[in-house]
């Protein structure tokens, strides 16, 4: 009783702060200075049509490097924590999945993987990009895991894909120091015309590598969780 009353008191104090913030909020009438710079100079600097992609990959590429590092750490820790438990074989063999699920998954999984690849290859032209495409790829792998729980996923293949993509991403960034204007610079490949698939410098390449790496990390997290023993 006392605990619930204390919680309600704390939350009402927080609600008072939120209400004062919300009442004092005035929406902007025109773009502020940094947004104005991004709106006017993105096409001439990088050649990408999607401004959010250009910010994530080029202007603030260092934050994306930090995020990729955090995801890598998370996938490694989940794999470490979950395989220390009792992993005494696979237990009794389960029933085979129904025919509807198996046939449907066999038709849908290549389409899902293709859609994920499309989303991250076209990240600089339409809404999309590496993180969305990687999540869609992991959903496809998840469907395979659901239909066939006894399937052996090789951790080595997933970790090889993840490490090679991460290493290539860092190498392209390092090449930017040697041949361009700084780390993760965009001008290693030609800018091209606005709206083409092969334009915007290294943005499609870098975002595809990020998409593969993120998809491999999410898949390794799901596979680690599905290989644990039932309690």
């Amino acid at each position: 009783m006392i605990k619930r009353f204390t919680v309600l008191l704390l939350l009402s104090g927080l609600a008072a702060i939120f209400v004062s913030l919300a009442l004092g909020y005035v929406p902007d009438a025109s773009l502020n200075q940094s947004a104005l710079y991004y709106a006017e100079n993105t096409v001439s600097d990088t050649g990408a049509a999607n401004i959010v992609t250009a910010i994530i990959v080029t202007y603030r590429g260092l934050d994306t490097l930090g995020e990729v590092t955090v995801l890598f750490l998370t996938a490694a820790i989940v794999g470490l924590v979950l395989t220390r438990g009792a992993k005494a074989g696979k237990g009794k063999p389960m029933m085979a999945s129904g025919e509807l699920l198996t046939t449907g998954a066999g038709l849908l999984v290549p389409l899902i993987l293709l859609m994920g690849t499309y989303v991250f290859v076209n990240g600089h032209l339409t809404p999309g990009g590496g993180f969305q495409g990687g999540a869609i790829l992991a959903s496809g792998i998840m469907l395979v895991l659901l239909t066939d729980p006894m399937k052996e996923f090789s951790h080595r293949l997933i970790s090889v894909i993840e490490s090679v993509s991460g290493l290539t991403f860092i190498t392209i960034g390092g090449l930017g120091i040697l041949m361009g204007a700084g780390f993760l610079d965009n001008s290693l490949l030609p800018k091209g015309t606005l709206g083409e698939l092969f334009s915007a410098g290294t943005i499609p390449l870098v975002y595809s590598l990020i998409g593969l790496k993120v998809g491999a990390e999410f898949s390794s997290m799901l596979v680690s969780l599905s290989e644990t023993e039932g309690s």
């Binding site: 989303v119 999540a135 959903s139 998840m142 999410f218 997290m221 309690s231």
Partner: protein
Amino acid sequence: MSNLLLGMSIVLVIAMFVTALVAISQRRLSIAILAAGLVSLIASVMFLLLAAPDVAMTEAAIGSGLTTFLFFFVLGRVRGESDD
């Protein structure tokens, strides 16, 4: 036309609040997990109304897809515990 969008957003916000209350107070855990996935889905539609298509796609794929998968995996492994 913008009155229609405004009305739609108010209806969506009310639905989001009701679903969030279901997610934190329902007795059965599987219904609470599905309600959290539904909150993410409604938030993804709100992101689209706020003119942010990249964020809407990310929230729909990650918040409402992968998070629900992860929860149900762990729930299946610790099955047998009663709630609260």
